[in-house]
Chain length 367, copies 2
């Protein structure tokens, strides 16, 4: 603990590793919290169980009083809007399944040193807010705008670069009815860690797009080149690959682990006989889930899908009656969406472990 | 992921390690969530930020309807009580700072493989419930009772031993007015992960005593020998030491990290000049905090204490104006309680990393 400080403005280059984990990875796992998989039972993830990825610190906002969001750059009318004004516009509530682009990073080999998620960086919430387009229409986007940029009030360093957290959307996307300026989650004011008092929610996209603690919006006539837009959240084969930006959620399914766990290993014991498996499946940008299969020791059978969710952005339940036979068993689940996309059996490699949607496998002992 | 399952009924013996972390430790860090230290600003920890240590799975309780708690063993009148009956008794609300006995384990060397907390396993909540003694008086504890045992409805394995989570209190302690049967946290029904619909809260003790998802109470005429009572949560020099059970919180203080962080290392950058440091301090069993000192590069000065909290179980705020000079700095905080107990400069060794209350140190760069 008494080591010289990390040279924050010129940190050593991080590199991939295999096997054991660095203390920095563990510290991040302590800070960032995931959904307990047994909580997949809840249609809407209870408060405090929705996953959280906090890049810097949660800003301390004692009161929403006085919070404003500035709109500037290539707009006809630069604005400073209060929360009351924003809340006076038409409100919508959307149920959205949100996932971290880095979910599953901890099993991608070799592993990029960052938040070491296994499966838990997901959650479903009801977000209430006003469509962002009301604000953009009031400001009037210039014809030459190519990116609408959103900055949070959270600030820090990454790889030596100091910046406010910022992400951008293309104007047409930003003007869609489903991109919301959100003030409430599950019928309650936003919790501090979820962006109180104001955040963006971009349904169907990985969570990095949904900027929290929204401070200002800038209309740019050139592509946004902020750290969080171009230096991370990009799928790359290796560090030299220019890559493809991560956007919408890849098709995925998870299951409530059956039986009871061992504290340390999280291995599971299941009683032989009929076991009612339950899980959830989702895909990005509102593409419906059309099939979930359950694999038992490599033999796949179709699960029963719950009725399609009312919100096209919400996960869909699935069920499977498993006649569990004694012995060591591997159970797995695999979803397919209406575009024909399905989960791979093994993780696809990504340089920083983004977008890992391999099937969820679980080893259990049946007694 | 395809390895043979961990032999859950006869697992390999765990052993201490140094340096890098096991995947099992990271999985536990993913499951169990800590308080973000910047949230020390809040007198009461916001929902979802109070630390959570979940030994097994969170039981799925769709509704509180029908939940009962059984009272049996050496009592005059065995009972099955409904929640409505319990709620009809006199209610109390107590503000309590709760901490995990394993907080700080990740820096104890050599390190016991378990949940690898650094500093974050703490939180303060307002718990509302009825004193447990009302229930025990109704049942009538026998004269020969030596332990009152509390079982949750969570079940699993630890070190090969299958058990319901269970802990005990001595009868005199169980009959104190401050040990509560709790149904609400911060004015809301308990969240699933905090013990919905009913839990025990034992103020001033480490969190393992506050049994969640309370299912039954048993009065024993011999000492309770359950796994969570005798095989863990015991301070030991080594595995052969019979040890001393962990009970009340040791004196401790933490600070809101000043400045802004680096994403990966959590190193911090602070602007030179006056920096208002803020933190919290607490001790166990209601012993008041009488002093907090701040150390800058090893030179200690007294901080200013906020007014004593109304609840003797709640943490106390402290402040210190630090004139930060450019360069690499180490800042630290150290609390002393009314018993004269103070935090050690280095962690005291414990075989399983319990009760680590060494001073909170932070390396920062001042620019």
């Amino acid at each position: 603990m008494k080591a010289a400080p990390y040279p924050i403005t010129d940190p050593p280059k991080r590199s991939h590793s295999r096997g054991l984990f660095e203390r920095e990875e563990v510290r991040l796992a302590n800070r960032n919290s995931g959904m307990l998989l047994e909580m997949l039972r809840h249609d809407v993830t209870p408060a405090g169980l929705h996953y959280l990825l906090i890049h810097f610190d949660v800003p301390y906002v004692a009161s929403a009083e006085g919070w404003t969001v500035k709109v500037g750059g290539r707009v006809e009318r630069p604005l400073t809007m209060t929360l009351d004004e924003i809340k006076s516009w038409p409100q919508r509530t959307l149920r959205v399944t949100m996932e971290c682009a880095g979910n599953g990073r901890a099993t991608v080999e070799p592993r990029w040193p960052s938040q070491p998620w296994h499966h838990e960086a997901v959650g479903t919430a009801e977000w209430t807010g006003t469509p962002l387009r009301h604000l953009l229409e009031k400001a009037g986007l210039g014809d030459d705008v190519v990116d609408v940029v959103f900055f949070g009030s959270d600030r820090g360093f990454d790889s030596g670069e100091e910046h406010d957290y910022g992400r951008s959307l293309k104007p047409a996307h930003a003007m869609s009815d489903d991109v919301l300026l959100v003030t409430a989650m599950n019928g309650q004011p936003l919790l501090p860690q979820h962006g109180f008092p104001l955040r963006l929610v971009v349904p169907g996209w990985y969570g990095m797009a949904s900027v929290k603690w929204l401070d200002r919006i800038e209309a740019w006539d050139r592509p946004f080149d902020g750290y969080q837009q171009v230096r991370t959240y990009v799928y790359k084969r290796d560090e030299h690959d220019p890559g493809i930006p991560a956007t919408t959620l890849r098709v995925k399914s998870l299951m409530v682990p059956p039986g009871i766990p061992d504290w340390y290993s999280r291995s599971r014991m299941v009683d032989a006989g009929l076991v009612e498996l339950f899980g959830r499946a989702w895909s990005g940008a509102g593409v419906p889930i059309v099939k979930v299969e359950v694999g038992v020791d490599g033999v796949w059978q179709e699960a029963t899908l719950d009725p399609a969710p009312e919100s096209r952005y919400a996960w869909r339940g699935w069920r499977f009656s498993w006649d569990a036979k004694q012995g060591a068993r591997e159970i797995a689940c695999r979803a397919t969406d209406a575009d024909g996309d399905t989960q791979p059996l093994d993780q696809r490699y990504d340089n920083a472990g983004f977008g890992n949607n391999m099937v969820h496998r679980l080893m259990v002992t049946v007694r």
